[in-house]
């Protein structure tokens, strides 16, 4: 009976959403997004405050963000305040996990890892960490950035915890790293107020688009976001490893 009611509700919702999605003036038809009619057009050509028609790789300099990756220039320049909120949400999630799981210092006895896992993890671990650092530092040039690279570094630590039953991440130092990088992120934003009048503004030289040292403050901010996200994920992983102990 309940399933039929749910199915009926879903059918009504499906009808409503389909009519909304298929024929609507507010959202564009599939494959027909028009950038020149929305704010995204200004984001892409980096002309939000002043008109700018020429963005070419390796030539244009002194652009608004100077980031070749348009998503990065939105995440850390035009909507950097959103990113601060996003990092805060992740911090609160990590805090909630560690509060709910208690602070027992006992760790579960993990099962012995097999030969393949032990040897294979030794081979791929350095590669995973190097690729993670690469993704963080090239967030303004190629796909990726602080969140993705931080998740990769945390995954490397999870691999270490799986392959070595004795390995326990030192959570105190990661908490310190997390707090420190979050504080530096906010300080870098506050410097923007004194230099150019608004929070998290790009007050450094943006350089020539497409070079590693371009985009001014963005690579520095992404580095600290990478450290913060990585250490937050590692502390969540460590909390889950610890919780196993309480169940035994």
């Amino acid at each position: 009976m309940k399933n039929i009611l749910a199915l009926l509700l879903i059918a009504v919702l499906a009808f409503l959403t389909m009519t909304y999605v298929v024929d609507n003036n507010l959202i564009p038809e599939y494959g027909e997004a028009r950038l020149d009619q929305t704010v995204s057009g200004a984001y892409v050509t980096q002309s939000v405050t002043e008109k700018n028609n020429d963005v070419s790789f390796g030539r244009s300099d002194n652009l608004e963000t100077g980031s070749a990756n348009a998503v990065t220039s939105i995440v850390l320049e035009y909507r950097a305040f959103d990113t601060l909120g996003e990092v805060t949400v992740l911090f609160i999630a990590a805090l909630g996990v560690s509060l709910l799981l208690g602070s027992s210092e006992n760790f579960a006895k993990r099962p012995k890892s097999g030969f393949i896992l032990k040897v294979g993890s030794k081979i791929i671990l350095p590669i995973v960490i190097i690729v993670g650092v690469y993704i963080i530092t090239h967030g303004h040039l190629s796909p990726g950035g602080g969140f993705q690279g931080g998740a990769m570094i945390a995954a490397a630590l999870l691999l270490m915890a799986i392959s070595d039953p004795q390995f326990i991440p030192s959570i105190k130092q990661f908490k310190l790293l997390e707090g420190l990088s979050g504080t530096i992120f906010i300080i870098l934003g506050l410097v923007g107020i004194s230099v150019s009048g608004y929070f998290l503004s790009n007050y450094m030289d943006t350089g020539i688009i497409g070079t590693l040292t371009s985009a001014g403050i963005i690579p520095i901010l992404y580095m600290f976001i990478g450290l913060k996200v990585g250490s937050e994920l590692i502390s969540i992983i460590t909390d889950f490893l610890r919780e196993e102990a309480e169940c035994d």
Partner: protein, 111 residues
């Protein structure tokens, strides 16, 4: 078309949220819901023959797909991760207190 598929994913997630009794399955349903939603937001910014919004030597900004939905989905994914982590911990707590993951069995045991 992919936006219809995304809506179907959203509805599937909602259906599983409405019908299941198992908390872990609810979390999985919530994740399906969320993936559908993220996919739908990304399809809003798609243009036919559009390319990745990253400037390289061989392309120019006029061909880009809309980067704004992608930036918003980045936020949404991170928040979804935090939500899943906290939800799993709460599920673990419920299992520890009541000895079951089924919400209809918990109902009778509340004091």
């Amino acid at each position: 078309m992919i936006n219809i598929a995304a809506v179907v994913l959203i509805l599937l997630g909602l259906y599983s949220l409405l019908t299941t009794q198992h908390i872990i399955k609810m979390i999985v349903g919530l994740n399906v819901f969320e993936v559908g939603l993220n996919l739908f937001i990304i399809t809003i910014g798609y243009r036919s023959n559009g390319i990745v919004p990253i400037l390289t030597r061989t392309n120019n900004v006029q061909d880009f797909v809309d980067p704004l939905p992608q930036a918003i989905v980045l936020t949404s994914i991170v928040i979804g991760f935090g939500l899943t982590a906290v939800a799993l911990v709460v599920a673990k707590k419920i299992h520890k207190t009541y000895g079951t993951y089924l919400i209809n069995e918990i109902g009778g045991k509340v004091e």
